[in-house]
């Protein structure tokens, strides 16, 4: 599905990413992990077409992509759930979802029941403004909104950040269900170790813009991965 190699990225004068390789496959969750400020979000931004890369190659569906724009990526089937949700605060929940129609042919522009089944709270709040929702509800809305575009690759940036445990669990179930459907590739940026370990099929650990550990779940040991991310997760023990 997605195969990116040797990605580099600069913000102004400073280099954020150094030669990252990342791949995503249908029915699998690729987890990107690492501490604050190591470049996880930048990597996701790059893949979503929100920031031009300074080097490297991206292949999507076997096609090489040169210049990416966010809307082209979205239309090509890349759904994006940003860090901090980025809900449109003055749009209603329904309207927030409808923004994703831009990627769909006119005849298919409707909100499927599946969405409301996965996130029943959104059906309840359909006519409230996005800004009025609680953090957890907004996170669900952000995911639902990305799903509206029927993505084949879903990019999730820290979906558990600042969310109550019961909703985290629900989000986890949704991601698992999407993975198990088998037609969608998922890249998950996450700091919540247990959550990521639970869902992940492959892992990429970043430190200061470089990959320091990478591989499928089968090749990695939980303890090693955890140790790499030490300092962060210790408090949870």
């Amino acid at each position: 599905m997605l195969n990116a190699t040797n990605l580099t990225l600069h913000y102004g004068g400073s280099q954020i990413l150094h030669g990252i390789d990342i791949a995503a496959h249908p029915g699998q969750v690729t987890c990107v992990m690492g501490n604050n400020g190591v470049g996880k979000t930048s990597l996701l931004n790059l893949l979503a077409g929100r920031h031009p890369r300074s080097g490297g190659e991206i292949e999507f569906d076997g096609r090489k992509l040169d210049r990416l724009t966010a809307q082209a990526m979205a239309r090509m089937g890349v759904g994006y759930v940003p860090q901090g949700r980025a809900i449109f605060p003055m749009l209603t929940v329904r309207e927030n979802l409808e923004t994703g129609f831009a990627c769909l042919p006119r005849s298919e522009r409707r909100i499927s029941d599946e969405i409301f089944d996965s996130f029943p709270v959104l059906a309840e709040m359909a006519d409230r403004r996005g800004g009025d929702l609680s953090g957890g509800q907004q996170q669900q809305l952000a995911i639902a909104r990305a799903l509206i575009t029927r993505p084949r690759l879903l990019l999730l940036d820290e979906p558990t950040e600042g969310i109550q445990p019961n909703i985290i669990a629900q989000i986890g179930r949704v991601i698992a269900a999407l993975r198990d459907r088998g037609d969608m590739a998922i890249i998950l940026v996450e700091q919540f170790f247990d959550f990521a370990w639970e869902l992940g099929d492959g892992f990429l650990v970043l430190e200061r813009g470089r990959a320091i550990m990478q591989g499928p779940k089968s090749d990695l040991r939980r303890e090693d991965l955890h140790a790499r991310l030490a300092g962060h997760a210790t408090a949870a023990e």
């Binding site: 809307q71 990526m73 980025a86 605060p89 003055m90 749009l91 409808e98 923004t99 994703g100 990627c103």
Partner: protein, 297 residues
């Protein structure tokens, strides 16, 4: 009696202001682009009306043709301005002001070169002439009623486009968070261009209406630009109801002050503006301010 007449005058004045400002409510209110050439778009609309009228003698028919024609002309002008100038100044709003000011002077002079310096006739069809008279004191000219209706129509149209159409949804999404909107598959550049064209097109239609009751000259737009911006600012940027309230306030205020000193219209205008300056001090975000965190950004 006098009060009702005054009310009618105020209402009609307010609807003219509203009409002139409604396009600005899109370009400035929603998109936050300062377009000093907005007045010239109004002028272009009026001249389009004039040209159509010279081609089609039947006034009713020519008006029917002129409205969409004016929309088309100014829509195209707006799109061109957005693509060529405004887009490249997205991060420098105050410089947009200067660049569009340059466009404004250029357009005015071009209008002079093309149409001459004389005022051009633009005449309402007969069914819009005359007045609706209730009694000796209370009467209102039909054209003003028509403008009022047109203003209401535009309000409806604006609300419809913004709340009910795909374009409106995308415009709102883009103004709230262009990056996220792009990630939802919306092309922010295209939306900016279309909505700027829409705002400009509305200005063009307003131009035809204004030309019908006032004069058509190259300086037509100048009479409305400062006031239009004031209307939007006083009302509260980003809210069409605010623009309506702003136009209402300005209309009512001017007419009330005018009636206090009927021999000096100039004084009335002075005091109206002074009042607005002081008003903005106390409600810097307008009558209907945008609330919440979204407004801070």
């Amino acid at each position: 009696m006098k009060g009702i007449d005054l009310g009618l005058d105020a209402l009609s004045f307010a609807s003219i202001y509203f009409l002139a400002a409604i396009g600005l409510a899109v370009t400035f209110g929603v998109m936050r682009v300062i377009n000093m050439a907005h007045g010239e778009f109004i002028m272009m609309g009026a001249y389009t009306g004039y040209v159509v009228q010279t081609l089609i003698p039947d006034r009713t028919l020519s008006l029917i043709v002129a409205l969409p024609a004016a929309f088309a002309v100014t829509f195209a002008a707006g799109v061109a301005l957005e693509r060529l100038v405004i887009r490249h100044l997205a991060k420098r709003p105050l410089e947009t002001l200067l660049a569009t000011f340059g466009v404004s002077i250029a357009l005015q002079q071009i209008a002079k070169n093309v149409f001459g310096t004389q005022a051009r006739p633009l005449t309402a069809p007969e069914w819009l002439e005359g007045a609706i008279t209730f009694n000796d004191v209370i009467s209102i000219s039909t054209i003003r009623v028509a403008i009022f209706v047109l203003a209401l129509l535009f309000l409806g149209l604006f609300l419809f486009i913004m709340k009910r159409t795909r374009l409106g949804l995308e415009v709102r999404a883009v103004t709230q968070n262009p990056g996220m909107a792009a990630s939802m598959g919306i092309n922010p550049d295209r939306i900016a261009m279309l909505s700027f064209g829409l705002g400009s097109g509305i200005a063009g239609i307003a131009g035809v209406a204004i030309g019908l009751f006032a004069k058509v000259t190259s300086e037509l737009g100048q009479d409305y630009i400062v006031q239009s911006f004031m209307t939007v600012v006083v009302g509260g940027v980003g809210n069409i109801w605010g623009t309506l309230a702003g136009a209402g306030l300005i209309g009512a205020l001017s007419k009330i002050i005018e009636s206090l000193n009927p021999s000096n219209t100039l004084a009335a205008q002075t005091f109206m503006i002074l009042f607005i300056i002081i008003f903005i001090q106390f409600r810097p975000r307008g009558i209907i301010p945008q609330k919440g965190r979204a407004a801070e950004a």
